[in-house]
Symmetry: C2
Subunit: 348 residues, 2 copies
């Protein structure tokens, strides 16, 4: 099996793999309930949020949860089209009956907050780092624009949380969505949705047309059920591995953890450029967890990586002519960076 240098899922720390191998525990009771409540608090802290929810699901489920609990059918939302995952966000909003304005933006540049017309909108939904391009978009400036326009702002941080700083409470982001298998270096299988205080108040005013995704129900279980702090069976193994990884990040310190990823991504870009490769993201806007390298023959580079025992990601539409390199989990090391650059260079 090749080592994973894809933009997710991440390879797991051996200690977290050992947690996964432990016998199944009940998702309720005197040990589980305080443990799970503590994890919710730790995840909220890591995301700088007022409150966090963890549900069985995926990043896309999290997008649906955030939208369904913050907006009603018929609401108008603006989505800057930053790539594959922005169109996904727009699709989810449309499936929920929202009126979506997908705003064209230059693919190779960060979204321009001043160019966004939010008149008449109820919400702004933006991708923090679109894995299509490896560009980090200016969500804090977008938050100020959204706050000024009085619209609710949701950030898709699936490809950024744990790798880029999020400052919900000071910036005015109402909700962020992520998943465990990227910057949090945990196994896939969960949706993570976090809110600042304003977002948290707003979810109490909307009940989605869904039982499972209705966060008011999840909040009630957390508040009232001493025995089982969630309304459904949780993926206990995955949750426990997430807790182990979150504790590890906390032990380093979130800021240090992210600074390390920032330095490593800079090192990857400098090594790539020294080897004659381009990096798609403009300087100052390059993401920490995913680096996109435009190329004519992505398959060639993917095969070179495999020959060296590594797996990288292919380009995603509309930027199919690229490879994508992830710096997540156990392969976020300078040794891995050296190895992948050597592999991409290897013409033998």
């Amino acid at each position: 099996m090749e080592r994973l240098m894809i933009p997710g899922p991440a390879e797991l720390h051996p200690d977290d793999l050992a947690v996964l191998a432990e016998q199944t525990v009940p998702h309720y009771g005197d040990r589980w309930a305080p443990f799970f409540r503590g994890l919710l608090d730790d995840v909220a802290h890591l995301l700088d949020a007022e409150t966090a929810y963890i549900l069985p699901g995926s990043g896309t489920a999290g997008i649906e949860i955030a939208i369904a609990n913050l907006f009603a059918a018929g609401d108008r939302v603006v989505v800057p089209d930053t790539g594959y995952f922005a169109t996904r966000v727009a699709e989810v909003a449309e499936a929920l009956g929202l009126r979506v304005k997908l705003v064209a933006t230059p693919l190779g540049a960060p979204v321009d907050p001043d160019g966004l017309d939010l008149a008449g909108a109820d919400g702004l939904l933006a991708v923090h780092v679109d894995s299509t391009t490896g560009i980090r978009h200016p969500v804090e400036e977008l938050a100020r624009r959204a706050r000024a326009a009085g619209v609710t702002f949701v950030v898709d941080a699936v490809a950024s949380a744990g790798g880029e700083r999020l400052r919900l409470r000071e910036s005015g982001i109402d909700a962020v969505v992520t998943a465990p298998q990227k910057g949090l270096a945990a196994p896939p299988g969960l949706a993570i949705v976090a809110f600042d205080r304003r977002g948290s108040e707003q979810i109490r005013r909307h009940r989605p047309r869904s039982w499972f995704f209705d966060l008011t129900r999840w909040q009630e279980a957390r508040d009232k059920d001493e025995w089982e702090p969630h309304p459904v069976t949780m993926p206990t193994a995955v949750v426990r591995a997430l807790a182990a990884s979150v504790a590890r990040i906390a032990s380093v310190g979130v800021d240090s953890w992210i600074a390390d990823r920032h330095a490593l991504a800079g090192y990857l870009r400098s090594r790539l450029r020294a080897a004659g490769f381009d990096v798609f993201a403009p300087d100052g806007h390059a993401a920490n967890l995913v680096t996109v390298v435009p190329c004519d023959d992505p398959d060639l580079y993917a095969r070179r990586a495999i020959r060296h025992g590594l797996m990288i990601g292919r380009g995603l539409p509309p930027l199919a002519g690229a490879v994508r390199i992830g710096l997540l989990g156990e392969t976020a090391t300078t040794a891995s960076v050296d190895r992948i650059v050597r592999a991409l260079e290897d013409r033998t």
Copy 2:
């Protein structure tokens, strides 16, 4: 940690724990896609269904998926009130905008198919084994009634699949819902929804107001995407452990596997009765995976179990005055049955 004799989650086979401990694999590519498609076929076969879907989620998510894809808001459905999980099914249908008739039924008896009035209904939603009572309800007879009345029939088999025979294709059940952590002896974290041919055709006529739970989207990915046969990131570790457990059941043979559970549940009931305990389910309708023992002081019996290193379930409303014993996974053995009966008897 106590051994689990609760009605779920199940303790896992050591080989499946070893699968969970393996490094994360990508949820796409040449190895994953055929593996996942094969698992869908194997699960459909195990449930005697035409087609099965596996999504990140839980049993309740599966109920929502089945209802959302088979019915539209405003549709009328009948739900026999067989206990806690029947009220859950009714709640989910109501959250989706269906008009629900929750039909009172005697708690201590199987649903009487001839007593059900399906006039004007679009659907019948019934729980196969309600974990509240440990009673197995006659879903095949209900299927005949539903088919005669021209209504769509959905079975909540969360507490029965893998432990009770389901015959979708011959009986006319349109859809069944289950989850991995009960009779399939796998880790929690997935929703499993399976359809016979008629149910499978019907889901193509309804698009739910949801992106994530829209099975047409899941079917398209399975049909068309050679690289990634599902539209979101899957909980790879949990899926792989489910596949290992499903393969183990298939190697025994589904019928033999279920016959073993039937014999073991009979043995538990005879041992309990010999020790002076009651069993709530009437003879001939007792479930294989969960046995409910009415008692005045459930806490006393739960404490006795814990003193013997075992964990049993407490009663669920409306039958709180009971304990519930699960025969799932690694503790579905005669040795465990002997041990739990000794524990419940132990007055020291």
